[in-house]
Amino acid sequence: MHPSRPFEPKNGFIKWFDRQLPLFTVMHGSLVAYPTPKNLNYWWSFGSLAGFMLGVQIITGIILAMHYTPNVDMAFGSVEHIMRDVNYGWLLRYVHANGASFFFIVVYIHIFRGLFYGSYKAPRELLWMLGLVILILMMATAFMGYVLPWGQMSFWGATVITNLFSAIPLVGNDIVTLLWGGFAVDNPTLNRFFSLHYLLPFVIAAVAFLHIWALHIPGSNNPLGIDVKGPQDQIDFHPYHTAKDLFMISALMVIFFGVVCFAPNYLGHPDNYIPADPLVTPPHIVPEWYFLPFYAILRSIPDKLLGVLAMFSAIIVLFLLPWLDSHKVRSGAFRPIFKQFFVLLVIDVIVLGVVGANPPEGSWLIIGRLATAYYFLHFLVVLPVLSRVEKARPLPESISQAVLAKH
């Protein structure tokens, strides 16, 4: 997407600077005069919200790292030191802990928006896949971050998740020993997790930069899923989207600070306020809520290796999505059958989440297996079949026409 108008600075310094390094031209082209479809709805703000939450996490994380000690004997105590003695330490920690949850809420909504409106389809396949890379990096970062307070859930979560790699044939156990740096999760594990937990957010930021770059080549998809035909279909990013995104950020913060200040431990688990004990496993080990659907898929398969493979496949299948769903129409709004299956997928993922939170026994096991089966069926069978047979409703001529018709 070319800027809607050239950058013409008046200020002498900016002119001089920009001639040698066109930083202002690039910023102007991607944040001010960046043309976007004029029919974007509120769901399109969740990309900005995700970027905002990444910023919140990096800033609070850097500060927490100044007060935290990554040592098995001191980690738990240093978190309590933050909670009790550091000025506003409790606030920073609760913002960071709940910030991870809100980052995931925002990103999951962002992903489902892409799934519904076909944002993964050409010419945006790479954009979609870069987003999935961010998701995987977020999961790794969140998992390692949860280990740092060195509570019971930290320790046993780390043990269980790293043990997934022992499912790899032949070299599995050697890989686990390598990950741990010992024969159990211990001080070396904590130290390397801290190092990586500090590093990965910056990798996320770098991939997010590529993600935005890849977005700005074709420009945003839109609720109609049709291409822009010209300037009459578009609006500059500034001031329209700046205002809209700022409003959305403030709305998110209203909810966020409600949780941080009035229910900061609601999304956590009480067992993580018990210091890690390598000799006692808590009765119910539950991962953080954002991992529950994947955890349910893992446990629904009785074989260790196949379970692990299924869990990783749940994300890998999303990489293939642009080719699995080859229907010509992007937006789910014009695909009546797809729409119903989409709703089913959303329910399915929620069900998987509930199953993941419950012990793998009795009816939970059966529900978990059915939900897992549907998850893969949806992507591997339903979408390819619909691509062939589904007849879409007629698309509007252009975005501006549709907008005019609506108002």
Binding site: S250, M253, C261, F262, W289, Y290, V346, I347, N358
Partner: protein
């Protein structure tokens, strides 16, 4: 259009309510709330009952401290409960803590506590604690009110929950009986607890003008104290939260109006 919004809304709500569902499978009985609830709960005016917390500290000191440490609480923190500086000094001096090595001999002697010291553990190490308690280390109580489902209500209930099990309740236990050296308590997961009933009516002498030290009163007091010990910044957090919310709602409203105004200007609607 409407459907989509509902579905996404549901997804958000479900995401938030999952942890609650996750806890449905514990077999401990639903903990009791004190009559009238906890004053530190709620949004506006949430506060710790300081009188109760001060009495609760007395119960901790005279009863719980025989076995349980409270290592993340320093004596200086007690000023938060309304003790003045001199009282805190006196309380601290009533505990012996490990001193610094003597500069001449290198000998380490215990000395009376000072406000900056943390409340010392009743046992020198976990092994000693286990040896005195049938092999089970009594857990540190600093975070007990956050480390159990139900929080302070859990402590309040367990302290009052000791009873002789009925034949039916016995049947639910593995082996059909309470294990040797353990006690029946339905508020504990598994309904069996290693701690002997710690409270009995009149166990602690409360000062003049204070309520009768019944088991229920002491349970309430010490649970209040431990709720404070686990989350000493709760009051500040909720006060700031209320202020943040008001400010954020104003900002949110103004930004929404601004967005609408700009939308009208550049989009015409």
């Amino acid at each position: 259009m409407k459907n989509k919004k509902i579905v996404a809304g549901l997804a958000l709500v479900a995401g938030l309510s999952l942890p609650a569902l996750a806890l449905a499978s514990t077999d401990a009985e639903e903990p009791m709330q004190p009559p009238g609830g906890w004053p530190q709960d709620g949004i506006i005016g949430a506060h710790f009952d300081r009188q109760a917390a001060q009495r609760g500290f007395q119960v901790y000191k005279e009863v719980c401290h025989n076995c349980h440490s409270l290592k993340y609480v320093a004596f200086r923190n007690l000023e938060d409960l309304g003790f003045n500086e001199a009282e805190v000094k006196a309380i601290a001096a009533g505990f012996m803590v490990q001193g610094e090595p003597d500069s001449d001999t290198g000998e380490v002697k215990d000395r009376p506590g000072k406000p900056f010291d943390h409340i010392p553990s009743p046992f020198p190490n976990p092994e000693a604690a286990a040896a005195s308690n049938n092999g089970a280390v009594p857990p540190d109580l600093s975070l007990m009110a956050k480390a159990r489902e139900g929080g302070p209500s859990h402590i309040y209930s367990v302290l009052q929950g000791y009873k002789t099990p009925t034949a039916e309740e016995l049947k639910e236990l593995p082996g059909g009986k309470v294990p040797e050296g353990s006690y029946y308590n339905p508020y504990k997961a598994g309904h069996v607890i290693a701690m002997p009933p710690p409270l009995s009516d009149g166990l602690v002498q409360y000062g003049d003008g204070q309520p009768q030290p019944t088991v229920q009163q002491m349970a309430y007091d010490v649970s209040t104290f431990l709720a404070w010990a686990a989350e000493p910044k709760l009051e500040q957090r909720k006060r700031m939260g209320f202020f943040y919310e008001i400010l954020l709602l104003i900002v949110c409203g103004l930004l929404f109006a601004s967005y609408k105004r700009i939308s009208k200007r550049v989009l015409g609607h």
